[in-house]
């Protein structure tokens, strides 16, 4: 199939993104992720299929509207003490309530779009990319979870001379990463923890593949800008040992950067919309600790030209 005609599930396209890659960028969020990080700030990204969510803050209330209650045939939406209640277990994602809702309180995360549709939208901001070395960043979920679609998207973007970046967890077959990197200006890849037990416990997956993929991509793409990132998560990897270990693991090369991404809870409310509980709702990152960790992350021996990769 022609790359531009490929279709996939997107849950958000965000313009004027200024922290995920160079310049002014448009972020394309793709559905689906193989990891289940306990702190995940995009819970709506995890499932591959479109899914329903209910945001009571945008709701007019049953008293003024109540159209969703009439529309719902599965019993997921009911009236409890005059309030609209959403039971995720009963929801079959038929989206009847979403079509009935005038305010956007009943919403759908995820929409099928073609590569062409996406790039046409991304390209509307082209004039900003020119001036800022910006472009498109694929995020998620996991940017490469819908791998055929994501790779088509990257190839087609390259073809249209749009700058490309992905934010990835690195957990998939190396071939996917390799093909992606052929069409990337920058790779942003998470190294969450070197401790495999902890990694399994907090993300649900083994880190071996991730670390292997990382080493290989660094070796095979010596000219690609690679940005290794560690989300600093309270109770998971927010210790000096953890960060020092990862920093030492990341090779010191001109094309490789390392940075920390402090934990935030801005995704918290979305758990509620999806009828899920957020385990990190009351966790907080110690500010002084973060400062120390940032100093460790930045404290690397002087760059050695032509240095080799040491795992």
């Amino acid at each position: 199939m022609n790359d531009e005609a490929m279709k996939g599930i997107v849950f958000n396209i965000q313009k004027f993104s200024v922290h995920d890659g160079d310049g002014i960028r448009t972020l394309v969020f793709l559905k689906g992720c193989p990891l289940r990080c306990k702190w995940c700030s995009n819970p709506e990204s995890q499932e591959a299929k479109p899914q329903h969510a209910y945001n009571p803050a945008r709701c007019l209330t049953a008293e003024l509207c109540g159209r969703c209650l009439e529309a719902c045939k599965t019993g997921a939406l009911t009236l409890v003490n005059g309030m609209i209640a959403f039971d995720g277990r009963k929801c079959e994602n038929c989206f009847a309530c979403n079509r009935a809702c005038p305010s956007g309180a009943q919403q759908v995360y995820g929409e099928e779009m073609s590569v062409k549709d996406i790039l046409d939208r991304v390209e509307r901001d082209g004039v900003f990319y020119n001036r800022s070395s910006g472009g498109m960043t694929l995020s998620g979920g996991e940017a490469l979870f819908q791998h055929d679609f994501a790779l088509a998207l990257l190839r087609a973007a390259k073809n249209r001379h749009i700058g490309t970046t992905i934010e990835t967890c690195g957990f998939y077959k190396y071939e996917f990463l390799e093909e992606a990197c052929r069409n990337l200006d920058r790779l942003i890849i998470d190294i969450k923890s070197l401790n495999n037990e902890k990694h399994k416990a907090f993300t649900g997956v083994d880190n071996t593949i991730i670390l292997e993929n990382f080493k290989r991509v660094v070796a095979e793409f010596p000219d690609l800008k690679i940005q290794a990132r560690t989300p600093v998560i309270p109770g998971f990897n927010d210790t000096e040992e953890d960060i020092r270990a990862i920093r030492d693991f990341v090779p010191q090369r001109a094309n490789v950067e390392y940075e920390l991404l402090p934990f935030h809870r801005m995704g918290g409310p979305k758990y509620g919309y999806l009828c899920r509980r957020y385990e990190y709702a009351d966790k907080e990152l110690d500010k002084n600790l973060l400062k120390r960790l940032k100093a460790i992350a930045a404290d690397v021996p002087a760059f050695k030209p032509g240095g080799t990769i040491e795992a």
Binding site: F16, V18, I24, S103, R124, V127, R131, S132
Partner: protein, 822 residues
């Protein structure tokens, strides 16, 4: 919650982190009386009127010159304590002056209660009030411009202009603004004063006079009195300047502090020299400029006041020479500039007309200082002074002057960087004006290219060519949201009940197609435009009968060439602009898009449902309101609505083109509401974009409040896609973007601001200004005004103290969408 990132301004206001080093003098002057309620000074009106009584029957320009001379000789002269520049036209503290020739007929209603009005109040001394009521106002009764206009407008124009017989209350449909200013803003040719001095300028007039043939009746009755006026006005300003030299010497004689004594003697020396003779150094150039600027204010009320022109250009030779010769340090130059800013901030543009007040809240006046841009030869014009101006704006707690940076495609990276840094300071400076749009458009409209390249920003977002432009009447403000209402209610507006104001375009519930609805809207829109143009023709005819401007004329090449006052309707060789303001752009196009989509395309609502919902201000129709609100909105780079927006702009431009041909001038559409989108909204009932009745309309060419959900790039692109670049009957579009301090934090943030500006320049948009302040700070300032007295916010082409503006306007600013980082 994570901690808020504060802008440098917020750090100063909230955490009191103020660095006064090097600004001791400025803070001393400032703290004495910056935050008191301004007062009215009546001397200008008194001595002006005194002379006008005795000169009836003479050429108006000559009468004006004589009146100015009378003022110059008699008005109290002041040297503000600690100031290095001399010259103010009112008592110490913030003050405003009166221009009874414009609006003296309002004094009876307005003046005694001026201190109690809720918007921009003023204090009036009881003795002064007596002088006004017994001495000044009676003379002007029946003679003011406003009365004449009110009498002249035919009934069908009056009905869309005023609510009452005397024309004291605006209808806010097709509003005239000519009766609270004698012309739009102006930039005098300061360079001429600094380089030549008034003796030389006066000699030019004397030579012309000597060459007249006084047996020729035109020469005798028109040219001679005009040249007499030019000679007298030069005398007037020189007399006024000299009186400051004398005062400085008197003060010096009494001064006990040796340092201040020396300063006063230096002021005396400077005022002996300028504005009569050419300036020899930076200090004299500054003083000559300041005298000219202040005397222009005595001359007339050019709305939004006299602008400062390209200060970094005409002052640079003096600055450079002094620095090279070691007679001036950079710090001294900065102090002199800041001395000017402080005195400038104290002169308030006083609006007597209650409608005028609504138009520019927060004691608005904006003496734009233009920096950067290009030379008349098209080279980049940035110099060391451009940077000094930016430096003086950063960390500076005043909203004056209004700094305007000209940006072009080759603006140096350093200049752009410092502009971005200054913007990030958070008090809204500088505003940006785009050479790539302005130079090109003005050249197409008939300005020679070298002069087009040398434009100065003037007033809010406008531009001037000091020797090519001619005066423009206060423009007409058209509330197109009322055209939308009249389409919905068959020529009527809910606020005005059964009165038929527009055309009867039929019952919209009978319209079968979108085309039918849009055609009806278009008829209402064009009808208002025609009324606006008709009104403007009357205004343009009356203006020269009431106003003259000898000082501005003697400084204008074309006036001296043709021996015509600058208020003359048409001056050979001049470029005549006329503007009308578009009110409610976002409100209207969002409403039209909602109707098109929901009623005609998707048929999810009937027209009756929409109308019923709007009539009820959505009470009981909440779901309908949500559907309307969720329709495509302007400001999101969405072609569905931007196509409509482009067409609405196009209607304006095509009609303006017709009117231009009829009148032989250039009529342009502008989107610069200043603060009037708030009062204009007060007569507009609920609109089909979900906007509640009587609330503010969208401002300028910005999106409706909260409707721009896709970030600043989409806002800029929507603006770009709706401009009709194939037509030239357009001028400024005011564009506000609010960013959170966090989204532009650090070096990376500065770079993003620069990148946004570069792209804005590529897109050839006219104007851009930023508010970089946390929503939280504004909400708190509203609650505890005393702790936030010095918080500045960007309003519309100018910045004002947040606590000086009305609650409605405060809410308006709070509601502007804040673009955060994503």
């Amino acid at each position: 919650m994570s901690q808020l990132t504060l802008s440098p301004q917020e750090e100063r206001v909230i955490n009191h982190k103020v660095d006064r080093k090097g600004r001791e003098r400025i803070y001393k002057i400032l703290e004495r009386n910056q935050f008191t309620i301004p007062h009215v000074d009546v001397e200008r009106a008194k001595y002006f009127t005194e002379s006008m009584r005795t000169t009836e029957g003479e050429l108006l320009t000559l009468r004006w010159a004589k009146a100015l001379k009378n003022v110059a000789e008699k008005i109290t002269v002041w040297i503000t304590p600690d100031q290095l520049l001399a010259g103010r036209v009112g008592k110490l503290g913030r003050y405003g002056i009166l221009y009874p020739e414009i609006d003296g007929d309002f004094y009876r209603e307005v003046l005694s209660d001026l201190c109690n009005r809720d918007k921009s109040p003023f204090q009036v001394d009881p003795d002064d009030l007596k002088v006004v009521m017994e001495d000044i106002a009676p003379y002007w009764e029946g003679k003011t411009y406003h009365e004449h206009l009110n009498k002249t407008l035919p009934i069908e124009l009056r009905n869309v202009t005023y609510c009452d017989e005397r024309g004291l209350k605006s209808k806010f449909v097709v509003s005239e603004t000519s009766s609270y200013r004698s012309a739009l803003q102006w930039v005098p040719d300061y360079k001429k004063v600094i380089e030549r001095g008034f003796i030389d300028i006066q000699n030019e007039a004397r030579e012309r006079l000597a060459k007249l043939d006084l047996t020729n009746s035109i020469d005798l009755w028109e040219k001679k009195p005009f040249l007499d006026a030019m000679i007298i006005v030069c005398d007037a300003i020189m007399i006024w300047g000299k009186r400051h030299a004398d005062l400085a010497r008197d003060l010096a004689a009494k001064e006990t502090d040796a340092k201040r004594k020396a300063e006063l003697l230096q002021i005396a020396e400077t005022c002996d020299r300028v504005p009569a003779y050419p300036a020899r150094n930076f200090r004299e150039a500054m003083q000559a400029q300041w005298f000219t600027q202040m005397f222009s204010r005595i001359e007339q009320k050019a709305s939004a006041i006299i602008s400062n022109g390209r200060m970094d250009q005409y002052l640079y030779p003096y600055y450079k020479k002094d620095i090279e010769e070691g007679t001036l340090t950079r710090e001294q130059a900065k102090e002199l500039l800041e001395c000017m800013w402080v005195d400038m901030a104290q002169f308030i543009d006083l609006y007597i007309n209650p409608t005028g007040v609504e138009f520019q809240e927060g004691y608005a006046h904006w003496e734009a200082v233009t920096i950067g841009g290009q030379t008349p030869e098209g080279e980049d014009a940035t110099n060391d002074l451009s940077y000094l101006f930016l430096e003086s704006k950063r960390e500076f707690p005043l909203n004056y002057p209004d700094l305007a940076a000209r940006i072009h495609s080759r603006t140096p990276e350093r200049f752009l960087y410092e502009v971005a840094l200054t913007i990030k300071d958070g008090s809204g400076f500088p505003k940006l004006i785009n050479d790539e749009e302005v130079v090109f458009l003005n050249a197409l409209k008939g300005c020679p290219i070298n002069e087009a390249l040398d434009y100065a920003v003037s007033g809010c977002t406008e531009t001037r060519h000091p020797n090519r432009d001619t005066y423009t009447s206060g423009c007409v403000y058209v509330n197109f949201a009322s055209a939308l209402e009249m389409t919905m209610y068959n020529g009527r507006m809910l606020h005005y009940g059964d009165e038929k104001i527009g055309l009867e375009t039929g019952d919209p519930t009978s319209f079968k197609t979108w085309d039918e609805f849009y055609a009806a809207y278009k008829k209402q829109h064009i009808n208002l435009l025609q009324k606006a143009f008709q009104q403007q023709v009357v205004v343009d005819k009356l203006r020269p009968m009431h106003f003259a401007a000898p000082l501005s004329s003697v400084l204008h090449n074309l006036c001296m060439e043709n021996l015509l006052d600058l208020h003359t309707e048409k001056i050979p060789g001049g470029v005549d602009y006329s503007y009308f303001e578009f009110l409610g752009y976002g409100t209207i196009v969002d409403s039209l898009a909602a109707i098109k989509k929901l009623v005609f395309d998707e048929k999810k609502l009937t027209m009756k449902q929409v109308i019923d919902a709007c009539k009820a201000d959505f009470k009981g129709f909440e779901p309908v309101r949500e559907m309307l609100r969720n329709a495509p909105c302007y400001g999101n780079d969405d072609p569905y609505v931007d196509t409509i927006a482009r067409d609405v702009d196009r209607i304006c431009q095509l009609e303006a083109m017709k009117s231009s041909e009829e009148r032989g001038i250039h009529v342009d559409v502008r989107y610069v509401p200043i603060t009037s989108h708030v009062p204009f909204g007060k007569v507009i009932s609920a609109t089909p974009n979900g906007r509640h009745a009587w609330t503010a309309l969208s401002d300028g060419s910005s999106a409706s409040h909260g409707a721009d959900k896709n970030g600043p790039t989409a806002v800029l692109l929507s603006n770009y896609h709706t401009k009709n670049y194939d037509l030239i009957n357009r001028a400024s579009r005011l564009l506000n973007i609010k960013l959170s301090p966090k989204s532009v934090a650090g070096e990376a943030g500065t770079k993003k601001v620069m990148e946004l500006i570069r792209t804005w320049c590529d897109l050839k948009l006219w104007h851009l200004q930023f508010n970089i302040v946390n929503r939280d700070t504004l909400v708190k300032a509203q609650k505890e005004p005393d702790n936030y007295r010095n918080l500045l916010v960007r309003i519309a082409g100018y910045s004002a103290y947040f606590c000086d503006i009305s609650r409605e306007l405060q809410n308006d600013i709070i509601d502007r969408t804040e673009h955060d980082e994503f």
